[in-house]
Symmetry: D2
Subunit: 260 residues, 4 copies
């Protein structure tokens, strides 16, 4: 019997086995993070640079992240391209590596990203050899501009950050996946494993999930659920979903046993 | 670190590890069935009694089903309670065991079940010590009658058999799960792993999937996807899904790095 | 220019112009009922027999219902076919006419109907020349049994009574509309005019709306909204909805003005 | 009894009674346009400038538009802000008035708008005293930029132009309606009257519908349906939709007639 390994995901020169990215925010305790990573199988974790307190020897989120996991610092707190660029450079200088998730957010209520400033920051940072992963609205023209700007992937939202509202932008995500040559990583809004699974079935390259794991009653068990669901969705995408029909299609012979 | 095993599912006196049930219909070749079982982890398989040709030594679907797997013969082809009862008895007499999935279907277009006849067949077969699993519309009063009739579980549809249309009856499934003391096993209509995952997140005890696996481009890979998705959904149900909010909830500190 | 009158709806020998039925429950004051009827254009109103206090000269809901409006007494409170039959006969004896909405409900939480008892009551009352309108789950086999039993229409639910949850059973309603020779009147669950409009676009013959009107801030204005929405949905059904496409279809010439 | 007139919609200094805008594209014959306007009650019609052939005396769409209707020329065909600005100026010079719908589209497959170029064109044209109505993706930051640029309203899409796919962007439309001080006019994608009705219930100021009317079997009847549905949705928005509940809420007294 053939083995059923998933195809690896190559991003920023790194080969990833898991297509689930996780975050560091909102956990009751940062001590949960190693178990979240282990149970989910995730190999990429995002962290707000502000939380990286290099001076502190004890209360530093970095202490909880294994070296084998790819760090994805984010520019949370930036309101302009310029601020995002400064944070990215600080992160690299501080030893956080050259991956950067761009978040440029001027809206405090829905935390929706600013596409124009995001493209500007991406252009600058890509030229400086960052692996740039921008958080965006699912807007095709912004995504196209990010391809030209040198992004490594695009990270459109399913719903507002932390809302657990799911894939509310499915129609637009579908278009991005069909039209954009870069990996599409669904970021923000995913609230349940079934939603991450569906994003993967649609052809997303990966999902980033933070709040849905951190806000579960048992975050570590939920992390495992998300890891499995993302793998299942990728597997299903590759296995080729069968056709949908209006009428029923008998699974079993209908002209029955007893009528023959 | 704690292990994250799922809770076992006890049904008809048997302890099941997997909560995915599969079928034998519509495969390009029955030779795929052992791999479907192995990759999905499923321990229960349904088969239409008509397909069980005990005389034939070569072309018999039974040859492809390992002894360790629980056989769930179904009464496909029955149009009345009486016919279903006869098929069930024949199945047991033929050595297929005492589990029986009741299907009483008089509608050839949507293959929707007849609740009244299904209750009648269940009453009779439960008294004869069958483990009775009736296929039903998601109707609360029929489900209550089946509890009284001695069913081991209820198997409401998500959409018409073989349609791959998904959880179209979510509202009514939710009510059955909340109100019925028996396990609710979603049967029929599930087209993608994300839908099976969602049914499990809602609290379904298990899912039966046939067409969605058999009609995939790669049925064995799809079987694995469904196995993982069902496990993920159960895991999520037990981990406790976090709250949904209207507004965004920042994962990362917002009052930014650069403004402080 | 042609006039765009809607086709009339003939039910129980009466020709109706409006396809919106309303109710009498839950109003802050019964004095709103005449305006609800006038603004919505509704010509049929359902009333629980219990509320018809013939002794009381002042506090009787009947005082607020114009004679031109068709009364549709309902058997609310009945838990069995026998009780429903008794209520129907009492209603007729009391001068409420021969239309009767059968409600047989043994579930106090979701108020879901009992299909089996409903069929029994319908058989008896149809033989006694009632115009029988049974409230049902959207179950095809129950609906077929009601056709045989002599019902004048079937009234499947969109969601639990009074929940304002909308057309949660769309998949099953669509099947009833396609398969049942009687008018399908969507009853229960409709919370907004857009949902009533959609039911009509799908081919429902009419909608019954009570809670959504009575629980609005301004019930009379909401009654008008429902009247217009139901008419719009019927109009759209007859006008023939255009095809849905995956891609965009330019409304305006694309090869632009300035490029030519 | 109070009258139930809708509140007027003031836009660009004009007071509109109807909140349905229509288009001129895709009709089997332009001769249908006057009836579409009359039956829908629409007072605003969009037309691609290219279709305005002032030289032609017979084959000119303008001949079919009554003078009392507000003309809304659109910049269809423009791929940049500059081109949109040129078309707008030409339209005004040609006597089409000072309303302009900005469409800047560089994507030929989904016809999705370019937010950045749209903002640029809006800034220029608003300074030149146009009443600027820009077609946009439902992106909050673009909408905010358009407020600053002097737009008279924003016109976010529900789905790709001409797709009849409905309100696929509901989540983002809801945010625009809540956050943007300008009228939100849903443009593109609406396929059925129920969808226009729902957009209005959500608080949209108006809807623009072209393909769904033009592609109906009977466009004039469908125009009437849309006119009524939009009015119903506005009426419902003002009447205040009642609360949604998980459980049923009895409309009629439950503790029954016969049990008392």
């Amino acid at each position: 019997m053939a083995e059923y390994h998933l195809d690896p995901f190559v991003l920023g020169g790194r080969t990833l086995t898991s297509r689930l990215f996780v975050g560091t925010g909102k956990y009751a305790s940062d001590h949960l993070i190693p178990d979240v990573l282990a149970q989910s199988g995730s190999e990429v974790i995002t962290v707000a640079l502000r939380r990286v307190d290099f001076a502190a020897s004890t209360d530093n989120v970095m202490r909880h992240i294994p070296k084998t996991v790819q760090l994805l610092p984010n520019t949370s707190g930036a309101r302009t391209a310029e601020e995002a660029v400064r944070i990215a450079r600080l992160a690299r200088a501080a030893g956080c590596g050259n991956w950067i998730k761009i978040e440029v957010i001027a809206d405090n209520k829905y935390l929706l990203p600013d596409g124009y400033e995001t493209v500007k920051a991406t252009e600058i940072l890509a030229r400086e050899d960052f692996v740039v992963l921008p958080y965006i609205s699912p807007d095709l023209m912004v995504a196209k501009a990010l391809v030209d700007a040198g992004a490594a992937a695009v990270m459109p939202l399913g719903a507002p950050i932390g809302s657990n509202r799911g894939l509310q932008t499915k129609e637009l995500l579908r278009i991005l996946i069909a039209e954009i040559a870069l990996p599409v990583i669904v970021d923000a809004g995913i609230g349940r494993p079934s939603e991450a699974c569906e994003a993967m079935e649609m052809g997303a390259a990966a999902c980033l999930v933070n709040t849905a794991i951190a806000s579960a009653n048992d975050p570590v068990a939920m992390a495992k659920a998300f890891g499995d669901a993302v793998a299942a969705g990728r597997q299903a995408y590759r296995a080729g979903v069968g056709p949908i029909s209006q009428l029923a299609q008998a699974s079993s012979p209908l002209t029955g046993f007893l009528h023959s």
